[in-house]
Amino acid sequence: MTAYLIRRFVTSLIVILGIAFITFLAVHIIAPSPGRAVLGDRASQAAVNAFNKQAGYDQPVWVQFLKYMWALLHGNLGFSYKSNQTVDSLIIENAPHSMWLSGISLLLSILIAIPLGIFQAVKRNSVADQSITAFAFTCYSMPQNFLGLLLIGFLAISFHLFPSEASQSEKIIPYITAVRANFLPILTLTLTAVAAYSRYMRSSGLDALAQDYIRLARAKGLSEARVLRRHLFRNASLPMITLIGLSIPALLGGNLVVENLFNSHGLGLLFINELGNEDFNTVIALTLLGGVATVVGNLIADVALTVADPRIRIS
């Protein structure tokens, strides 16, 4: 198993290097000479050249790449000329909001989807199962912007239950405590995730129910509740680990839409704003961050799966 983990770790490292290379290339191709973008159309060519020279954009590509990688190793993601601060500080300012929104909705969706999926698997093809499936399928097929729009339309505008905008506080503590303001964005994210997870959970529950160990557990006289809790729940939840690892980038991408729709501070809104500003350093850094998050998420999921599942650990 150690060999497997080491191999897994090394491939992840290679993939991260590849991502860094691609993002560097992307910055280079999209904005080879940032001087013009930073100084504006009316700046003289001499000023633009001087800026590029000072910032090191006139050096050969490979020197720039090495410098970029060196900076990345030190956790330096570049400088946002449009906001006149480092990309790191921009990310540190905005990340907590995103992480709160994603994290709480991920947690809620797991807490809802696992029991829901098991319930559907146990009561398969009943009216309840089919109505939940229909509901999940509808949410699953709905782009997040329309789901959010429906929620705003009904819960915010027709019934005035919740505000249509997320909390606008820059500080994270008041943002977290503004439960009512953040209710709709969290609900949107949670519904989308529950729709996807419960479908997986239902099918993995059905698979587990057909296994011999469930029959054995029942045959030796365990109560149904105990069979479900100790045998079905544990085994059926294993695929969820991979799914949660895979959902980290989806949550980042999902945040893009939800943060935009509800105008909530965060990395997604930052991405769209800076994309509009043509601030490519920030935009590419966020893409890199998303890529690394994906790789790390997958790695963690794989490690967690080996810990959780003895069959993988032994083979």
């Binding site: 290679i14 691609i22 992307a26 399928f137 782009p143 912007n145 339309g153 998303g290």
Partner: protein, 309 residues
Amino acid sequence: MSIVIGEVAEELRPAEPIPEGGHVQGPRAGWRLALSSFVENKLAVVGSGIVIFFVLFCFVGPFIYRTNQVDTNLLNSFQAPSSQHWLGTDSYGFDELGRIMKGGQAALEIGFLSSAIATVLGTLVGAVAGLVGGVIDGILMRFVDILLSLPLLFVILIISNRYNGATVLSLSIIIGAFSWLVSARLVRGEVLSLRVRDFVLASRTMGANKRHLIYKHLIPNALGVVIVNITFQVADAINLLALLGFLGYGLNYPNVSWGDMLSNALNYLSDGYWWVVYPVGICLVLVVMAFNFIGDALRDTVDVRLRRR
């Protein structure tokens, strides 16, 4: 009379022994089985019906229900549904029903075109990786890993922002160029597992050359997985287009996508103009759901085909 005698005779005849290893089926039986199990699936039929309806609605509809989708007419904006404008008009005075048809054309075209691009590219890469193996397989798959790790929506947004002037073709190429990864992985996996199956081995033992193996065994068998993936890809592309339009990177005037319409509708949500908000969203959900239905049913179908063989 003769029919009855025939039936009796049929019953009296001793049942044929089941041949060892199950009944022998003709070579096309797999596909016939697949078709029959697809038709039995109610959701699949409903999904196909919805897709056919929307294809007719979006591409034939405009010839029957003629509207002006080029010139804005602000005096005519936000008219409630009437006999003249069945679904009213939007903020620019465009007829909403006609606009949904126009947006639907773009959605379906981009959905099909991008998934065609992605499927061709993905199948090629996956087949090469699976068949050639070795270093080339390693390089191609690491490349797929890297691209798959990048957040798709971010990448597509950056490209759309940089090379603006989005048309149906350019958006299809962008979406297609970044969604072939999953099909490449699927095809590679399928090729790898098929290569060591007994029937391929048997064929090889009988002296089949590589060409025969690829055309007679690998492609027909890997096709199921690819077709299932196409339907999901169409659904994803339509969904993605809606998100792009919503974020302001949709199609350029005079083209319009459902996402653009939704994004525009958001501004008028509290004004009570329900006809600019809900019909287009419902169309979007219906189309995506229909493709998901078909994909689910096809996946079961392919499973059935593999299971019964």
